[in-house]
């Protein structure tokens, strides 16, 4: 009952953000008449997290199997993986890529090649994927197909003749694209008879069915009842269910080399599963694991605390489960005087941090606060000791510090020439040094900068978007550490330092950052019965100050008759609101205040 892998194609869609990946995935699914049985198809079918639908972005890679009968009469199984486009989530892209033989590189006909188009193409080429260039949104009046074809040839070095023109919106060209996928992307090469080797590329937790592992089988086969071995963690489990993704999980009982699907194996210990690990059979184990992925390195660190200290254990369970589905999240125990017990976490970027916050709140119904994010600094002590510090609370006494180094990135920015001046100004303000500038054509420039990662974390991306009216695109990689002049800025609310708001800041930025944080907190902290001073301080000296005035009157005039039940219900609502605030000393700090201090300053942009 072995199936012919010549009729399988594993491919992903890669592109710069908003070039239409999720929309194209919708068309595929519709064409394959998968969407129809569920009534009118929702848009962005694969973006099934609430946050994805609301923000219109893809955060997680998702997989789906599409049955397709090609012009040659063959009944194919196309395994499609949708991927995110934001720079924070390129890790997800690389995981998707590892489970495919081919990639559709989508280019918005009106935007052309952008920074992530390039970055994702490089990723695909590293993994030897067959890349099919696809120009999307050809229905737009502003579509400039000749210029895109030129860029595909000139900037990407791909064959313009193999390019497919589509409109993911209208469906035009999608049939042809199916045929090209079948024709150009090679079938998986695995050996069904070899010992099983399956790469775990994702997993998630289902409250009813437990841990569900997403994998790509490279060799051999895995069926229900098999005893499997996780080669890295050495754990063994018995497979209870095997199947493929067709929006819902569809049980097939067996999968074999070349297939993409899931298994459930009654896994109780979440730490048994590591995305990137290889699964094989106990009875006939593979000699060695698959190459797996590079371990992700978090670049932003921040601590998560429950708003209600009693929720610590639930927070721990939530983070463990989230980690299953988000392999890039790293965490360890942390504690703060102001906030109690929590977790120090590493993230791929600020958007990643926000997504984790939203997922913890929505999927686990917990209220949490985040502390100011930080990069990892290397602190050289006078006594020769070298410390890695990403937590302001652990920053040593400055008298004992010899010097500090901070991480630098190389930023690639692609922008229409009109905005070059403004972008240079922004990059200089962010301590950037230009190392290159290439004109891609008359209208578009690629600018290369080296700058501190910490500067990119704070408001860089939003401001770049805003000064270029959304046209500039940006990608970066960490290139190493350089000497810097660092201080710890503390925030005092009503005279008491709030350790969770302390930040490590470049000395030259202290004034501006201090002012911004104080202003933000002033906006976010509700007035109380007394005046609340907010100060930013370095060492003993105050660098900035704001005051929240006391409120004088909040009593509502009339209170009689049936009114009282209504008032009580109002009181209960207010109570809920207060419970989402963190008491620090005698001041309530709303959860969003902790995030607001990180957001870009609208007044500057």
């Amino acid at each position: 009952m072995s199936k012919d892998s010549r009729f399988t194609r594993n491919f992903c869609i890669i592109a710069h953000i908003d070039h239409g990946k999720s929309t194209l995935a919708d068309r595929f699914i519709e064409k394959a008449r998968l969407g129809t049985s569920r009534g009118p198809a929702q848009s962005q079918i694969l973006d099934n997290m609430d946050i994805e639908r609301e923000r219109g972005i893809t955060i997680k890679s998702q997989a789906v199997t599409i049955p397709y009968v090609a012009a040659d009469g063959g009944a194919y199984e196309l395994n499609l993986v949708d991927t995110p486009g934001h720079v924070d989530f390129s890790y997800e892209v690389s995981r998707a890529i590892s489970s495919c033989e081919g990639a559709l590189l989508l280019i918005d006909a009106s935007q052309g090649v952008e920074a992530q188009t390039l970055a994702n193409l490089y990723l695909a080429m590293e993994h030897d994927l067959e890349v099919i260039p696809v120009i999307n949104k050809i229905d737009l009046p502003s579509a400039d197909i000749p210029s895109c074809l030129h860029q595909i040839n000139h900037d990407l070095g791909l064959d313009p003749d193999s390019t497919v023109l589509v409109s993911a919106k209208t469906g035009e060209g999608v049939d042809l694209l199916f045929e090209q996928i079948v024709k150009l992307i090679p079938p998986p090469a695995g050996d069904v008879d070899a010992p099983a080797q399956a790469l775990i590329f994702d997993s998630h937790y289902d409250p009813y069915r437990g841990v569900i592992v997403h994998f790509r089988l490279f060799h051999g086969s895995i069926k229900e009842g098999d005893e499997i071995l996780f080669m890295h963690s050495k754990a063994t489990h018995k497979v209870e269910e095997v199947g493929i993704f067709q929006l819902e999980l569809v049980r097939t009982g067996i999968l074999q080399a070349g297939d993409v699907g899931y298994f459930i194996a009654g896994i109780k210990t979440i730490s048994d599963i590591r995305v990137g690990d290889t699964v094989t059979l106990v009875s006939n184990p593979a000699k060695e694991p698959l190459a797996g992925f590079k371990d992700v390195k978090p670049v932003v660190f921040s601590s998560i605390y429950p708003v209600d200290t009693n929720d610590y254990e639930e927070l721990q369970a939530a983070i463990e489960r989230l980690k299953l589905n988000d392999a890039s999240l790293v965490y360890e125990k942390d504690s703060s005087a102001a906030l109690g017990f929590g977790f120090r976490c590493g993230f791929l970027g600020l958007l990643h941090l926000e997504v984790v916050q939203e997922r913890i709140e929505r999927e686990f119904d917990l209220s949490i606060v985040f502390t100011s994010p930080s990069v990892k600094y290397i602190v050289h002590m006078k006594n020769g000791e070298v410390l890695n510090i990403d937590n302001p609370l652990e920053y040593p006494d400055p008298m004992r510090v010899e010097f500090v180094e901070e991480p630098y990135i190389q930023a690639n920015i692609i922008t229409p020439t009109t905005y070059v001046g403004a972008i240079i100004t922004l990059c200089m303000e962010k301590r950037g040094v230009q190392t290159g500038m290439n004109y891609l054509d008359e209208k578009r420039v690629e600018m290369i900068y080296e700058m501190p990662l910490a500067e990119v974390l704070f408001e860089f991306y939003d401001r770049l978007k805003s000064i270029s009216r959304g046209y500039a695109s940006f990608d970066y990689q960490v290139i190493g550490y350089r000497k810097t002049d660092l201080v710890r800025m503390d925030i005092l609310v009503n005279g008491e330092p709030v350790d969770a708001l302390s930040q490590l800041v470049f000395r030259g930025n202290v004034q501006a950052r201090g002012r911004m944080v104080c202003e933000r907190l002033k906006d976010e902290i509700p007035r109380q019965q007394f005046k609340i001073p907010i100060q930013a301080a370095v060492g003993g000296s105050i660098v900035s100050r704001e005051t929240i005035s006391a409120f004088r009157k909040d009593v509502t005039a009339k209170c009689y008759g049936g009114d009282i039940s209504r008032k009580r219900k109002l009181l209960e609502k207010q109570k809920e609101g207060k419970k989402r605030m963190k008491m620090v000393g005698n001041v309530e700090i709303p959860q969003q205040a902790f995030l607001a201090v990180l957001k870009s300053d609208d007044k500057n942009s």
């Binding site: 007394f530 005039a557 009689y560 008759g561 039940s565």
Partner: protein, 414 residues
């Protein structure tokens, strides 16, 4: 016997004192700031057999049944609205008579708008009521029109005159409602209202409200509430003036000459038992487990079409909910919360609410903790909503720790 049995069981617990509130849901026209339930005359005054007649018919029966079920005078009686002055004097007389079936209550108040109080009401009021509460709102023509009261200053003054005559003839005590913080009103105008009212009528009692512009009212379409600081200043000035004139500030919005507090409302502020009858009325009844909130839907037409006691809904309050309501009402009164009364009612000491977290969030001058009670100062009344919220949060904490789910040392993360 038969009539008495039609009182829904639990409408009140006759083992405890019972007060009676009657809601008269009729007005001449709707004021622009009004968010209370009442219909303007054009909706109820339709010829011979009007809604009003049907209302009186059903209401008289409901009152009688309650009086019979109780078998003794009500503790206090209050006819509010709306505007009970929209009833004919014989209709009002009939309802009052029913309310006094077993004798006069300890206090009987009738609300009436100044323009409605014509001389025909005087004998009826004189016979049954001992308090008249009149919604004057302002003696400044501009403020009256800002409020969208469809009346004229001269009619208001006329009504006050009739009220004074009512007191002269029958000894009925007077209370007037005044409105402050009306958009366009300044401090001088608000003070002048107080001065002239006291000069002309020397009321035993005054209610001084601060206008809240309620969503959905016509006023909300054209005006905003005054700035918080302006409201505070105006209120403080009025409070001070009333105190100079010899009125005791005994509740957030209420002032009385010595011995003239409103007993009915005082019982309400102590979350005591009372029956509320009529559309949009609510009542509080005691039962074994705690208290029941009785209410009648805000729908005159349905009320008039239904049998006596049909349509009333009730809701049991948990002890926690009762505590929250208690905090909401009890702290409005000068004497605040009595520790003994609190402990008897809720089974724990009020002092437990004053944990460090709660006290940290209150300003020093906003409350007074005595040996027998906890009470708000005038400054505390200004921020009462916050104060109550703090205490309610503290009550949750007390409950948490009583239920034994106290915070434990968290486990070590991997």
């Amino acid at each position: 016997m038969k009539i008495a049995s039609s009182v829904p069981s639990g409408l009140f617990h006759s083992g405890f004192p019972v007060s009676l509130y009657i809601h008269v849901p009729f007005c001449v026209s709707k004021c622009d700031y009004c968010a209370f339930y009442s219909l303007p005359a054009c909706r109820w005054d339709g010829g011979g057999s009007s809604l009003r007649t049907a209302y009186v018919e059903r209401m008289a029966r409901e009152i009688e049944s309650c009086a019979l079920a109780l078998g003794r005078p009500f503790e206090t009686v209050f006819f509010g609205g709306g505007n009970p002055g929209c009833l004919r004097s014989n209709e009002l007389s009939r309802l009052l008579e029913a309310a006094c079936l077993f004798g006069r209550p300890g206090e009987c108040t009738v609300e009436m708008n100044p323009e409605s109080l014509d001389m025909s009401f005087l004998p009826v009021l004189g016979r049954y009521a001992d308090r008249l509460s009149m919604g004057v709102q302002s003696l400044d023509a501009q403020v009256l029109s800002a409020l969208g009261r469809n009346t004229s200053l001269s009619r208001v003054v006329g009504g006050i005159g009739n009220a004074v005559e009512l007191r002269r003839r029958y000894g009925v005590k007077l209370s007037f409602d005044l409105m402050t913080c009306v958009p366009g009103q300044d401090e001088a105008s608000a003070l002048n209202d107080i001065d002239s009212l006291v000069a002309t009528a020397e009321p035993e009692h005054l209610s001084l409200y601060c206008l809240s512009v309620e969503e959905g009212t016509p006023l909300a379409m054209r005006a905003h509430e005054l700035e918080e600081w302006d409201q505070t200043r105006m209120l403080l000035a009025c409070w001070q003036r009333l105190s100079l004139l010899g009125y005791e500030h005994y509740e957030v919005s209420n002032f009385a000459q010595k011995g003239n507090r409103c007993l009915h409302n005082s019982r309400y502020w102590a979350l005591e038992q009372y029956v509320g009858l009529g559309p949009a009325a609510a009542g509080t009844a005691f039962c074994e487990e705690g208290i029941v909130r009785w209410g009648c839907p805000a729908d005159v037409v349905a009320y008039c079409a239904g049998r006596p006691f049909s349509g009333y809904r009730h809701e049991f309050l948990s002890k926690e909910e009762e505590l929250e309501e208690y905090l909401l009402v009890a702290l409005r009164v000068k004497e605040g919360i009595n520790f003994d009364a609190f402990a008897t009612r809720f089974g724990f000491s009020f002092g437990e609410l004053l944990d460090s977290e709660c006290l940290r969030t209150l300003t020093d001058g906003s409350y007074v903790v005595g040996t027998t009670s906890f009470a708000c100062t005038e400054n505390g009344w200004m921020v009462l909503d916050d104060l109550v919220l703090r205490l309610a949060l503290a009550a949750d904490r007390v409950r948490h720790s009583k239920n034994g789910d106290c915070p434990v040392e968290p486990p070590v993360a991997p």
